[in-house]
């Protein structure tokens, strides 16, 4: 297992460097001027010169990349052109917010989707299976901004029982101290992702239920509750684990629409604003973080496989 981990970490480093190079080249190929995007359409030549000099944009591209790599190695992700703050500070401020919001919504979605998927598998092709499937697909196909505004219109504007904004505290502890404000954004993000998890779970559980060992457990008289919880659930989780692992970078990348509607600036809005304003350091920093998250999520999913399925032996692979 140790050798496997070392190998995977080595691969991860190569992948992340590759992502950095690709991102660096691509964003510098973008037409237009970062200075003008930041300083506005009427920036004077002298102001543009100061900008380019300040951020090293008048250096050759390869030199800029070497400088950037050197900074990254020393823990410096650069300074945002438009927000004028260190990128590491911006990410440190916003990443925990997304972890909280998207983490909670993912947990809630799984808490709903896993039992729902098994229930639908057990009752497949029955009335409730059709109803839950219809509801899940309705939510899944609904644009998140529309669903969010719908919930706000009902619960904030009409009933006035929940605030229309996510918590505004600057810290996670502060946000957790305002749980009412978390309800709408968490529920919005959770419900629109229940469908994908529950469908995977349903399909996987249907396969598992057809396995011989399930028949054996039933033949031995194991109560149905234990059959489902001990054998069906665990063995049906593998595809969902993959899905959760792959959703990890999504959690890190933020949810731009939900952040915009619920007044919750996170990584999604940060990346979107950087993308529209040629804010290279933020784009590179965000991409780096998401790249690392992708690798980590993928690795975590692989390791979870081993835990869930002892037949998987990475050490002997």
């Amino acid at each position: 297992m140790t050798a496997y981990l070392v190998r995977r970490v080595g691969q991860a480093v190569v992948v992340v460097i590759g992502v950095m190079i690709l991102t660096f080249v691509l964003i510098h190929m973008e037409p237009g001027s970062a200075a003008r995007a930041t300083l506005g359409p009427h920036a004077t030549a002298s102001r543009i010169a100061i900008f380019n000099s300040t951020y090293g944009l008048n250096e050759p591209l390869d030199q800029q990349f070497v400088t950037y790599l050197d900074q990254v190695v020393h823990g410096n992700l650069g300074t945002s052109y438009s927000l004028q703050q260190p990128v590491s500070t911006l990410i440190a401020q916003r990443l925990p917010r997304d972890f909280l919001l998207l983490g909670l919504s993912t947990v809630l979605a799984l808490l709903i989707a896993l039992p729902l998927g098994i229930y639908q598998a057990v009752r497949r092709n029955g009335l409730w299976d059709y109803l839950y499937t219809g509801a899940a697909f309705t939510l899944y196909s609904m644009p998140d901004f529309f669903f969010a505004i719908l919930l706000i219109a009902v619960f904030s504007v009409q009933l006035q029982i929940l605030p229309p904004e996510a918590p505004q505290a600057a810290t996670v502890a502060g946000m957790l101290a305002d749980p009412r404000a978390l309800i709408l954004p968490v529920v919005t993000l959770a419900l629109i992702s229940v469908a994908s998890y529950s469908r995977y779970m349903r399909s996987s559980a249907i396969d598992t239920l057809a396995q011989d060992y399930i028949r054996v457990t039933r033949a031995k008289g194991l109560p149905e509750r234990l059959v489902l919880s001990r054998h069906v659930l665990r063995n049906s989780l593998l595809p969902v684990v993959t899905l959760v692992g792959l959703s990890f970078p999504t959690i890190v990348a933020g949810a731009v629409i939900a952040e915009a509607v619920f007044n919750y600036p996170g990584m999604g809005l940060l990346f979107y604003q950087a993308a529209t304003s040629h804010d290279f350091p933020v784009l590179l920093g965000s991409t780096l973080v998401v790249g690392v998250a992708t690798v980590v999520g993928s690795l975590a999913a692989d390791l979870a496989y081993a835990v869930l399925d002892p037949r998987v032996r990475y050490g002997h692979a």
């Binding site: 995007a37 930041t38 102001r47 100061i50 900008f51 927000l83 401020q93 304003s277």
Partner: protein, 601 residues
């Protein structure tokens, strides 16, 4: 110079007053003010301040920084007097500004104000600012070559409250006071003239190297958001407010500066500022029964007016102090020769139905856009021509006749094309080829429904004379990065591929002069407009002192169409009726004077 306050990223400033503590704070009354105390919270859409040192670097053009710092360190000259776009002498830090020696000498008398630490505001504080800027321009976000401090030959301080500026040119006093001195914030030399956190305060600014070191130190400190409220530097203020809270998510709070020497002492106990990511989020807050008492309505949400009014809000509009335009690129490879023809620009302007746009797109909340000076925001600077509707009222028939008279075959709702190339009076004009169509691409800033509707209306009305406009919306920053300045001598395809662009609007200071806009090489003149007569007329408004010179320039610009004039939507505010002092709204300060706000009993 003109990029400030409301203009940053065309983000609409929203002032939302959440009467969070209005019901619990304060108490008692003061004569003529209703109830004293309470908390107001202002909300801002689109961006947050990130720099507290008022002399921000050239790389930081975040206009919200000025909104953060002005209540702490007000400018020499207070812009906005009630509802008028004019200097407010009562609230200004100066008691008088006198021009002499052919308007080359400016004598500024400071009022006897104190800093919050009890030290007096003196002329030395002015020279501190002057020294810092002289040693560090162009690295100042408001720097315009030739103006302050370039245009100051020497500064004298005959006494503690008098500053004498000897200028390199004679300036129009109105221009210099309204557009130059109105941007200068006085800073506390006795507390800030240092080069390190623990270092002593000295007179470092008096040498160029010392001024550079002080400037570098203050700029470094000014960007440390986590210390905005703890750094002793920023606790020394002369404005009506002191900063007590600033969070990483862009929220900040003021409390009254008890030592404020100005005339309007704050009545509220506290002013909170809350950032909003979008207009939608802000509108949701307004409608959700929260304690919001004031906000702004985007013009595309004006249909919410009735609902908000029924919930106890008052709706008020204030015109933007700017000019909205479509800027033609006179040196685009294909469209440039066409757009350089005045008659073509006249025809294009004739085909813009401004009245309809004001009525249907902006629901009446807009300046008509008759010329370079907005009629509503600057009534005292509007000429008779502009008042009467401008030189080019909507007239498709006039446009058609103009084009036909210059050799174009006009095909309404088709494609008008040049039939008679050549340079004679009845020909299409220099550089225009036979069969060349009147097709243009219009780039504009995306994300605002009213702008989409306006551009669609223009596209439709231009088609009446066979002018085909293709629309291309782009995010403002993308637009800004792709639209370069083009001139006769330099028009590379990489930055001059654009043909027509609508950035939204450009803002004026108190004196709505055209320098920088329409003069040769002006920083807002991306389209490469060159006209010696225009240069001369603009110079007369800036360096002369004749009021008639301004109107001469204004009418000339209105007729020459360096830009195509467009209506400019107003800013719509919504506020609870128990908040007083918020109205009348001022085009320049736009309600950013919470020191006069108070709640009714």
């Amino acid at each position: 110079m003109r990029i400030r306050r409301w203009t940053a990223a065309v983000a609409i400033l929203v002032i939302t007053v959440l009467a969070v503590a209005a019901c619990s704070g304060g108490g008692g009354t003061s004569a003529g003010h209703g109830r004293t105390g309470g908390t107001a919270t202002m909300a801002w859409v689109g961006a947050s301040p990130n720099f507290i040192f008022p002399l921000a670097p050239a790389t930081n053009t975040n206009g919200y920084n000025e909104n953060l710092t002005t209540p702490l360190w007000p400018e020499l000259v207070y812009d906005g007097d009630g509802g008028k776009a004019a200097v407010n002498p009562q609230q200004s830090l100066v008691s008088s500004i006198t021009y002499s020696n052919g308007d080359k000498k400016v004598t500024i008398d400071l009022k006897h104000w104190n800093w919050s630490d009890g030290k007096p505001v003196t002329s030395r504080d002015f020279t501190f600012v002057d020294n810092l800027l002289k040693a560090n321009v162009p690295n100042w976000w408001l720097y315009v070559p030739g103006l302050f401090p370039d245009g100051v030959a020497s500064v004298a301080t005959p006494n503690a409250h008098t500053v004498v500026l000897n200028l390199t040119h004679s300036y129009n006093p109105t221009f210099y006071t309204d557009d130059v001195l109105s941007l200068i914030q006085i800073l506390p030399q006795h507390a800030w003239d240092k080069t390190s956190t623990g270092g002593p305060v000295g007179n470092y600014d008096e040498t160029a190297s010392g001024a550079k070191a002080v400037y570098a130190f203050l700029q470094k400190e000014g960007g440390q958001m986590s210390t905005f409220t703890t750094n002793p530097l920023w606790k020394v203020v002369d404005g009506p407010w002191k900063l007590v809270s600033f969070t990483s998510n862009g929220a900040w709070d003021y409390v009254p500066n008890k030592e404020y020497s100005g005339p309007d002492k704050p009545i509220l106990d506290r002013v909170n500022n809350v950032p909003y990511t979008t207009d939608t989020a802000e509108l949701n807050a307004l409608r959700s029964g929260s304690s919001v008492t004031v906000g702004t309505l985007p013009l595309n949400d004006i249909s919410q007016k009735g609902i908000l009014t029924s919930e106890g809000y008052t709706v008020a509009s204030v015109p933007f102090p700017g000019v909205a335009e479509i800027m033609p690129n006179l040196y685009n490879a294909s469209a440039g020769p066409v757009l350089r023809q005045l008659y073509v620009r006249q025809a294009l302007e004739d085909l813009i139905d401004g009245k309809q746009i004001v009525s249907k797109v902006y629901n009446g909340y807009a300046d008509p856009g008759n010329g370079p000076v907005p009629v509503q925001a600057f009534p005292s600077w509007v000429s008779a021509l502009e008042k009467s509707g401008g030189p080019y009222p909507y007239s498709p028939s006039t446009a058609t006749a103009l084009l036909t008279a210059h050799g174009w075959k006009v095909t309404p709702n088709g494609t008008t094309a040049c039939q008679r190339p050549g340079t004679a009076a009845a020909d299409c004009g220099t550089g225009i080829t036979a069969g060349q169509p009147l097709n243009f691409q219009l780039l504009y800033s995306s994300g605002t429904a009213s702008t989409d509707e306006q551009e669609a209306a223009i596209q439709s009305s231009e088609a009446q004379a066979g002018v085909k406009i293709s629309l291309k919306p782009e995010p403002f920053n993308t637009l800004s990065s792709n639209v370069g300045a083009c001139t006769a001598s330099s028009h590379p395809a990489s930055t001059c591929g654009w043909q027509l662009v609508d950035f939204g609007y450009d803002q004026y200071e108190l004196y709505p002069a055209g320098n920088g806009f329409f003069n040769t090489g002006g920083y807002n003149n991306e389209g490469g407009y060159v006209n010696a007569e225009m240069n001369s007329l603009i110079n007369a408004t800036e360096y002369g002192s004749s009021t008639s010179a301004f109107f001469t320039y204004e009418d000339y610009a209105a007729r020459q169409l360096p830009w195509l004039w467009l209506p400019l939507g107003s800013n719509i505010f919504v506020y609870k009726s128990n908040l007083h002092g918020f109205a009348p709204l001022n085009p320049i300060s736009g309600g950013l004077n919470p020191e006069v706000w108070h709640y009714s009993s």
